[in-house]
């Protein structure tokens, strides 16, 4: 069964419900371990819902299909979001999510490509975009119209290799390559430590067709993805302004949301807070 081929008109409400479901999965995972990169995951849930349930052309039962669109999660520590999407898409069992981050689980805290549905080893930041460039070149040689979507983060733009890759993508006119730049404003040491603004202007200056949106607004996300479909000789960048912890006020406002750890007892309150918001 092929998913989303080609993407038709989007049911925004249905996609929003998918995003809520992804967040619910993530909270289940984080609760199981009492910790995790939940802030980042909740922030990017809308984008992953739009990709896996609308934009990407793929077959969850034939992951090696050569003509599949590929989603590369460069920030491997956002794995919690990817596991949620892959479970909801039917690639991995939902029941397995509870093993997130546990010893011997294949749902690691940082992605390794031994887990089904993982296209690249993320985690060493600055690796994803260049590998996306290589995959796009390979697809071009094969005359495939499949596209490559690479998620990377604002902090990751501080790695020089990101810009090496950005230069080469526009040089090679890789118009089937879409960079999803998650700007959530946090990095390991806290709020972004090295100013990367103006982000969109940087991508434009490197030759990318660039849009900038609220990454937690499903209609805007779907619209930006549709706007990135044109094969016009330019790679595409979508600058996503996202809120870490989106959907759970006490995580949204936490200074520690790069890596979130709370007592087991508090998870019930967090999940209640989320479900109250989701019900509204």
């Amino acid at each position: 069964m092929l998913r989303n081929s080609p993407p038709g008109s989007a049911d925004i409400g249905a996609l929003e419900r998918k995003a809520t479901q992804l967040r619910r999965h993530m909270l289940t995972m984080a609760r199981g371990q009492g910790q995790g990169y939940i802030g980042q995951g909740l922030g990017i849930a809308d984008v992953l819902a739009a990709l896996y349930f609308h934009e990407l052309r793929y077959d969850p039962h034939n992951l090696a299909w050569p003509d599949r669109d590929r989603f590369l999660l460069s920030t491997g520590h956002y794995s919690i979001a990817l596991w949620a999407a892959l479970a909801e898409a039917g690639v991995i069992p939902v029941e397995e999510l509870i093993t997130y981050g546990a010893d011997n689980s294949r749902l690691e805290m940082s992605t390794l490509d031994t887990t089904p549905g993982v296209e690249v080893i993320g985690g060493s930041l600055g690796h994803g975009l260049g590998q996306g460039v290589g995959q796009a070149l390979g697809l071009r040689i094969d005359r495939s119209d499949a596209r490559i979507f690479v998620e990377l983060s604002d902090g990751e733009m501080q790695e020089g290799s990101t810009w090496e890759a950005a230069m080469s993508a526009s040089h090679f006119k890789l118009d089937g390559l879409v960079a999803l730049v998650d700007c959530n404003g946090i990095q390991a040491d806290g709020p972004v430590v090295l100013d990367m603004e103006p982000v969109a202007e940087k991508w434009r200056a490197f030759g990318w067709q660039t849009s900038e949106i609220d990454g937690n607004d499903m209609k805007a996300v779907v619209g930006a993805l549709a706007g990135a479909r044109e094969r016009n000789g330019q790679p595409k960048a979508i600058v996503l302004r996202t809120l870490p912890g989106k959907g759970v006020p006490r995580i949204e406002t936490s200074e520690k949301s790069h890596f979130f750890r709370v007592d087991v007892a508090q998870w019930d309150g967090i999940i209640a807070e989320f479900e109250n918001g989701a019900a509204r």
Binding site: E119, V120, G130, Q131, G134, M167, S168
Partner: protein
Amino acid sequence: MSGAATKAGRTLAMGQDEAAGGGRQSVEAPFGRALARLGQSRPDIVGLTADLGKYTDILPFRDAFPDRFFNVGMAEQNLVAVAAGLARTGKVPFATTYGVFATRRAYDFVAIALAHSNLDVKIVAGLPGLTTGYGGTHQAIEDLALMRMIPGLTIIDPCDATEIEAATEAIAAHRGPVYMRLLRGSVPVVFDAGYRFEIGKARQLRDGSDVGIISTGFMTERALDAADALSKQGISAGVLHVPTIKPFDAEAVAAFAAGVSRIVTAENHVIVGGLASLVVETLFDAGIAKKLTRIGLPDRYIECGAVPTLQAKYGLTTEAVIAVIIALVRTTA
């Protein structure tokens, strides 16, 4: 080092190399020719470089297959990342740069983007050891040591034009990541056409009992010439050529070492972390305790200069190998 060589010696232009010595025949760009030949029957092979196509002999492939060749500019991390991406779409990329850049500059990419996923990428690295007069920035004198630490990476240090062509074919047929040192330009022919290269196999090229020379890369050429000269002086020197640094042919090394009185290692590389260290580890593991002398580069940065001047100064010549062995035999009778 002769006085005449000192007077005439000077650092050449980048990309220019001193004429191959030893009166041997040579072949132009054996790597590029072999790769272009392979490209005919292997549409999955693609070529990449980081602004060093001209200097790494890959242009014959580019000229034959322009649609399968990508120059990513001066960006070695991206060179390796792009190669990894191509490999994930079923291509077999050959990526060229200098050894210093492939190792020191792109190390995390080689380790994580390639080796961790066992991707089918071949890195072909110019200017190994002391083959350039451009000093520490360009001389990859510790590349074997660095790359040895990467799990699953195959590492080749070929001796001559014959071996480069054979190794290019062998690594194209091998599935998995490879780091191969490149001898570029006019490369001497040391081995005859009957020489067989096999990944992971050492080759005993001379029998001898007084001393056993275990060598890799172009130092095997010096070792063979030294063994010939020493035999005229009544010293019997065997030569074991170890072109594959990883996986290391420990069995052949231990067997060879068991049959000689003394051991000399010879490599175009620092004497820590490379061939010498591998041999010592192997002999220790096998319980073989013998006098061993290491020929190679010191653990320091090396200056600019003419390559023959530098090779003479740092002991990478046939004369230096002969002198080390004579001294060793005299002091350990």
